[in-house]
């Protein structure tokens, strides 16, 4: 399964110098990618009323799995208070990424923020040094670092910086927790998966690790994101009763005829912490193991 977790998305009115999303997705399908994530980039303060601007509804007919991703460009740590698990509005996007622009925000992102991907601006000189200690903290928390290859194809000065920054990142992270994505604004900037594996070899990884960067590591990102969104401290997840199939209704002691209509109900089995602030009272809750 090949993933491309960064396909820039712009709203319909802002298509200057960017190919239609459909053209790029068709090219990805042709190359053999199975999952794509549309990326919406935002600067400024992390707000608590983000709505998902990415419109997937008219692309149902493609045979590629489509996810949505939000990237915040972090300029100042005071703006980041919204990036915590309690911000439910961010859950409308499948994957959450940040792009730190200075050392303080980078440190903040690696230490405390609840995110999936740290994306660095690789096409120019990085404004901060990458250190083993800080990068190691992010790796321990399960956060992935992203290398985007399309800037190298667009522009020859970016190419130099990209190769050098990528080699640096691979050295500091020892090849772990890296994903390679496209960030392609045009269909001609996309490349096939094995071409990307080869580019990864140039950046200092061996073939096996480079291939993981577009397959297993990307899958880990998607699962990490789902864990962050759907579970409480990675242990408990809630599903509304209406999502149960009819042959599973025995789990709540009901049959088809008497489905409750959104009343809250205490589960009959034991559950931890009943004093959660963010538990939604209008949904019935049911203990369920994380089923991934």
């Amino acid at each position: 399964m090949f993933y491309d977790l960064n396909l820039p998305y712009r709203a319909q009115h802002d298509l200057v110098n960017q190919d239609d999303l459909r053209t790029r997705v068709d090219m990805l399908i042709k190359f053999g990618y199975q999952v794509v994530a549309y990326n919406h980039v935002v600067t400024g303060k992390v707000s608590s009323n983000e709505t998902n601007v990415i419109d997937i509804s008219d692309k149902k007919k493609t045979n590629i799995e489509q996810l949505t991703r939000l990237t915040y460009i972090l300029e100042d740590i005071s703006q980041n208070h919204g990036l915590t698990p309690t911000n439910n509005a961010l859950a409308t996007y499948d994957i959450l990424a940040v792009r730190p622009t200075n050392e303080k925000t980078f440190q903040n992102a690696c230490n405390t923020l609840e995110i999936d991907i740290i994306s660095l601006e690789m096409g120019s000189r990085l404004p901060f040094y990458l250190k083993h200690s800080i990068v190691g903290l992010a790796i321990e928390r399960g956060i992935f670092f992203e290398i985007s290859y399309a800037p190298a194809i667009r522009d020859s000065t970016s190419r130099r910086y990209l190769i050098s920054n990528a080699q640096n990142l691979v050295r500091v992270s020892r090849g772990k927790n890296i994903i390679i994505t496209s960030e392609a604004q045009r269909a001609m900037e996309l490349r096939g998966p094995y071409d990307i594996v080869n580019l990864g070899t140039i950046m200092g990884m061996n073939q096996a690790i480079a291939k993981e960067c577009i397959t297993t590591n990307c899958r880990s990102v998607v699962i990490h994101a789902a864990t962050r969104r759907n579970t409480h401290k990675a242990v408990v997840s809630f599903d509304p009763i209406t999502s149960l199939k009819s042959n599973e209704l025995w789990k709540v002691g009901k049959d088809k005829k008497s489905l409750p209509t959104g009343k809250s109900k205490k589960a009959k089995r034991m559950r931890p912490n009943t004093d959660d602030d963010d538990e939604d009272e209008s949904e019935s809750s049911q203990l369920q193991n994380m089923d991934m």
């Binding site: 053999g32 190298a152 900037e189 490349r191």
Partner: protein
């Protein structure tokens, strides 16, 4: 039984079998191949007519340019052979070719083809952007015949 020293042929005789010759083995060794073969294709944007004509001479200069842009002087010294190029055959509509490179220079050549992009003039003051697409690679020329993914897809959806 007094004799304790029986050989296989004696045993065979006792059991009434004729003696069989010792089996012969042949050993084939495949080591790291000297050459590596790449099947490449040139894509155009926009893909409509008129397409520029690219002969194998033009292909050589494109490959050389891609190597020197990505890897400089040392890169442009890499030995590349063009074994087949469809642009030399005027009826072909697609530009597909087979090139050969020494095994140790494979990653260098491949990554420079991946990173390469250029604009070609088509006349009428129009220009098209091109890039290289690597359709397959193998240490053996025969390995370029088909790609197992494409082949399986065609098999399943005839």
């Amino acid at each position: 039984m007094t004799s304790t020293n029986t050989s296989q042929s004696t045993l065979n005789q006792m059991e009434g079998k004729t003696s069989s010759p010792a089996p012969k083995y042949a050993r084939y060794t495949i080591t790291t191949s000297e050459w590596h073969y790449l099947k490449i294709k040139i894509n155009f944007d926009p893909p409509t007519d008129p397409l520029p004509t690219i002969t194998s001479l033009a292909l050589r200069s494109l490959i050389s340019r891609s190597l020197s842009e990505a890897f400089g002087v040392i890169g442009s010294g890499i030995h590349v052979d063009i074994l087949y190029w469809s642009g030399d055959d005027h009826q072909s509509e697609e530009y597909i070719g087979v090139i050969r490179v020494p095994r140790e220079d494979l990653t260098t050549l491949w990554s420079s083809l991946t990173l390469f992009t250029a604009t070609l003039d088509v006349g009428n003051q129009m220009s098209k952007e091109i890039n290289f697409e690597v359709l397959g690679n193998s240490a053996f020329l025969m390995g370029l015949c088909t790609d197992s993914r494409v082949w399986t897809k065609k098999l399943l959806n005839p």
